[in-house]
């Protein structure tokens, strides 16, 4: 597992963090049955396979839900209030959803709004965390 993975990982998602560091969105697909698993798993519960292919996905999707945050929660001093947090669903990855900051570039955010992402970092508690930042299109 990469150093990024060791810091931020929830477990089986090391290649996701490696991908972000390289400016690529990588998501896992079961080698046995083709099921997209997100969050990443070690074992596919559908077919029992332990093998996954990490595939590169275009960072483009639709807003599944969102919140516009106004309260200065600790650790987010680097972000200007208010900011929008979105959950973005990716058709190209079987509807897998990613969380991310959303810039309202094309009008106010709403469910179903198309978004595209760029690779960057979010500073949390003084530390840069690899991130995809989304913007409405």
């Amino acid at each position: 597992m990469s150093s990024a993975g060791e810091i931020w990982s929830t477990g089986a998602d090391g290649p996701y963090w490696d991908g972000l560091a390289d400016g690529r969105l990588m998501l896992p697909r079961c080698s046995g049955c083709g099921h997209w698993h997100w969050p990443a798993v070690w074992r596919c519960a559908a077919c029992g396979s332990w093998d996954h292919e990490w595939q590169q996905i275009e960072p483009a999707g639709q807003v599944y839900s969102w919140t516009r945050n106004w309260h200065p929660f600790g650790g987010l001093e680097s972000l200007q209030l208010p900011f929008v947090i979105g959950v973005v669903s990716l058709e190209a990855a079987g509807g897998a959803r990613l969380m991310g900051l959303v810039e309202e570039a094309a009008g106010p955010v709403k469910i179903g709004a198309p978004v595209t992402g760029t690779f960057t970092t979010t500073v949390h508690a003084g530390r840069p965390v690899p991130a995809i930042h989304w913007r409405t299109t």
Binding site: S9, R68, W70, L76, L98, A131
Partner: protein, 389 residues
């Protein structure tokens, strides 16, 4: 399968609630007070307590309570997984299981929280869940996590804001009439609610429960023993904890039909199956609301209404004691009574069924406790008077 009803009952309750940061004692000291209160309530020798259960990463290991309580022998202790309030009814269920199998005879279910000792609850809950995916998204607080779910409930599923407003108004109505509530004596100003500062849309300030210092305890013994103690026993008729497939700590990838829920689908199904009851059989409900919309989602999950009927069901007059169709949060709930990680909710369930509530529901025989909504593991319980067993 042996039915749960008839195994165990709540024999006594105790609670000490203080303003956040203003507890006169450190956490364990307040907890000992609450436990002794519960024992005195029941007329029960605290030295006879032999089991303990808690939830939400409570840091007060039961073995450390033994000296103050005079515990003769600790035979059982346990805690429900999860950092939030999802395990609150589950802890009661563990106590019932321990009593049913003879592992313990007298169990204290407790939760204690004093900021000077344990820090802010919201931070503790998030420390349990926080990961790089969330940090990268600026998603670091329970209010934000619940706000995103609530937004989809409103915008996609069409739940009317009026339903949530009525739920909040009912809590404050009850709190205003409960001398032990933080909202006691304060009239609810709906305009102030609607114009309060945003926290994380769709939540404004009064949609959010705010933490108190304090501790609460419930003494649970066998149903048989409870009959001989000082207070009328309040029986545990059913209790369930867990999660359905497609629910949990899934980086916002919960199943589409569960995403905007409070997570109780499987738990509610178990509860109704265990008890043979239906939502129509519930006289009053204590519905844990960390945030307003999650309380309404919890009512939907338990089958009191659905996305189509929630606006009609959640009207203010339906939700208040004494005459509402389903009075909810009759002490004021986490929003208006006070928030010691939800332990006030089962305590109000007990008081309500003993006829001691500040907002009594006359003749109430059954009370639902819906635990912390939106948590990866959630739990619920149904309490009943002696005549329901």
């Amino acid at each position: 399968m042996k039915p749960i009803a008839g195994i165990a009952a709540v024999a006594g309750v105790g609670v000490r609630q203080h303003r956040r940061g203003a507890s006169p004692l450190p956490e364990r000291g307040v907890l000992v007070r609450a436990i002794i209160d519960a024992c005195e309530d029941a007329g029960f020798d605290p030295a006879r307590i032999d089991g303990f259960a808690s939830y939400g990463d409570d840091r007060n290991e039961p073995v450390r309570l033994m000296s103050d309580l005079g515990t003769r022998e600790l035979t059982w202790s346990s805690q429900v997984f999860g950092g939030g309030g999802g395990g609150i009814a589950g802890a009661i269920g563990q106590a019932v299981g321990a009593i049913a199998t003879g592992q313990a005879k007298a169990v204290i279910v407790f939760r204690a929280l004093v900021q000077d000792n344990s820090g802010r609850l919201s931070a503790a809950v998030m420390a349990h869940h926080l990961n790089g995916h969330m940090m990268a998204a600026g998603l670091v607080a329970p209010a934000q996590v619940c706000a995103i779910r609530a937004q989809r409930m409103f915008e996609h599923h069409g739940v009317p804001k009026s339903a949530v407003e009525a739920f909040v108004e009912a809590a404050y109505y009850h709190g205003a009439r409960n001398p032990e509530a933080v909202a006691y004596g304060k009239d609810f100003d709906v305009e102030a609610y609607r114009s309060a500062r945003w926290i994380s849309e769709p939540f404004r300030l009064l949609d959010c429960s705010r933490e108190n210092d304090g501790a609460g305890a419930l003494l649970i013994v066998s149903a048989e023993e409870a009959r001989d103690l000082r207070r009328p026993p309040v029986h545990i008729l059913g209790v369930a904890q867990g999660a359905a497939a497609g629910w949990g700590d899934l980086l916002e990838n919960d199943a589409d039909d569960q995403y905007a829920s409070a997570g109780f689908r499987s738990v509610a199904r178990q509860l109704w199956a265990q008890t043979g009851l239906t939502p129509a059989d519930i006289d009053v409900a204590q519905v844990y609301e960390n945030f307003s919309a999650q309380g309404v989602a919890s009512l939907i999950d338990h089958g009191f209404c659905d996305y189509e009927t929630v606006g009609e069901f959640c009207r203010f007059e339906n939700l208040i004691a004494p005459g509402g169709k389903l009075p909810v949060n009759t002490a004021g709930g986490n929003l208006a009574q006070g928030f010691i990680h939800g332990i006030g909710m089962p305590i109000e369930a007990v008081r309500q069924l003993r006829g001691e509530s500040a907002n009594p529901v006359p003749g109430a025989r059954t009370c639902l406790l819906a635990g912390g909504p939106g948590a990866p593991i959630v739990s619920s319980a149904i309490f009943g008077t002696a005549e329901t067993v």
